[in-house]
Symmetry: C2
Subunit: 198 residues, 2 copies
């Protein structure tokens, strides 16, 4: 089972019962997602399964998107850790160009592994690029681009590279059009090569 009581950052300074409820809710939600699919997760069901009022669910997570993002948080943290402090070529230790090349496939596989959760958790268009996770990835790519010595509008290039890995289009290309993931990987390498010259 996941360690739902970790992430002290979100539980610091809260009352013990609130922390307990948060954990119960995430646990119940994870179970419901596992048995009925992320798309069919209802807030009522989560509240009921956790023996808690619906108000509590909303108080804790803000809205449905927030709950789903919280569910994703654990695996997202794992990925971020791999990319920020893990072994090369994704993590530090390899040269920037290699890390950039490694990022795409790693990300594709990561998303692909829990694609329905990622799809269900996609924030609306006004929030999509404001979620903290996006900022982390953006900063990372920007850094690699700078290190690799690309000239041009690094900000925009980073945005665009990230967008080419976005969950909805991954799903479209792989699940709806049947392209093999390898082709997307090749596309990423090609793109990185064309943009950075490496």
């Amino acid at each position: 089972m996941l360690d739902l009581l970790s992430a002290e950052s979100v539980s610091a300074g809260k009352r013990a019962d609130a922390v307990r409820n948060r954990a119960r809710l995430l646990e119940a939600a994870a179970e419901l997602v596992a048995e009925r699919g992320a798309a069919n997760l209802t807030m009522d069901a989560v509240a009921t399964a956790a023996c808690v009022g619906k108000g509590t669910v909303f108080r804790r997570f803000g809205d449905r998107e927030g709950l789903l993002l919280a569910l994703l948080n654990h695996s997202e943290e794992q990925f971020q850790e791999a990319m920020l402090t893990g072994p090369p070529p994704l993590g530090p230790g390899a040269e920037a160009g290699q890390r950039l090349h490694a990022y795409g496939p790693a990300r594709l596989h990561h998303e692909n592994a829990s694609i329905d959760l990622y799809l269900a958790a996609e924030p609306g268009p006004l929030r999509r690029y404001l979620v903290p996770a996006y900022g982390v990835h953006l900063t990372h790519i920007r850094m690699l681009l700078r290190q690799v010595g690309v000239d041009g509008d690094i900000e925009l290039l980073a945005h665009m590279l990230l967008r080419s890995l976005d969950t909805a289009s991954l799903h479209h290309l792989v699940c709806q059009r049947g392209l093999p993931v390898e082709r997307l990987e090749a596309g990423w390498h090609d793109l990185v090569t064309r943009l950075t010259g490496h």
Copy 2:
């Protein structure tokens, strides 16, 4: 006022009252959007304003997304016409590289002009790349890429170029981060140049 009775493709073979109702609904919806914003458009309100039952609205447009997409259809058709049969450099007559360069800024301005409608009408992640309009644009870009003689995975390149113009990120960069549209235009030109070598 818009010519809501045109687009015979959608009214062909339908009963006269159905066609009339469709037009009434679109007219009412357009008015409500104008006075309350696309985000606050409710299906009930549209039905009431058009003096029609709610069931009729759903029968005609499937769901809220469908209604908003139908509202967008008129301006979308205008853009497609400009790009398929209009004057150069966007339309035919210019060489492919120039048309490709012209596409980005044209599209950015087009979306920017009705950005809240585009944002409100954004289909969910499972539908986003299946809407007909996306197919048209994709085919267009693919054709230009082929004409310009790019080697590589044209399919993927086209997808990625289109994604770099997507409404949500346009909104993010311009409205949420304050980048001037000119910078996005420059980014497009830079991107096209790097990818095609022209």
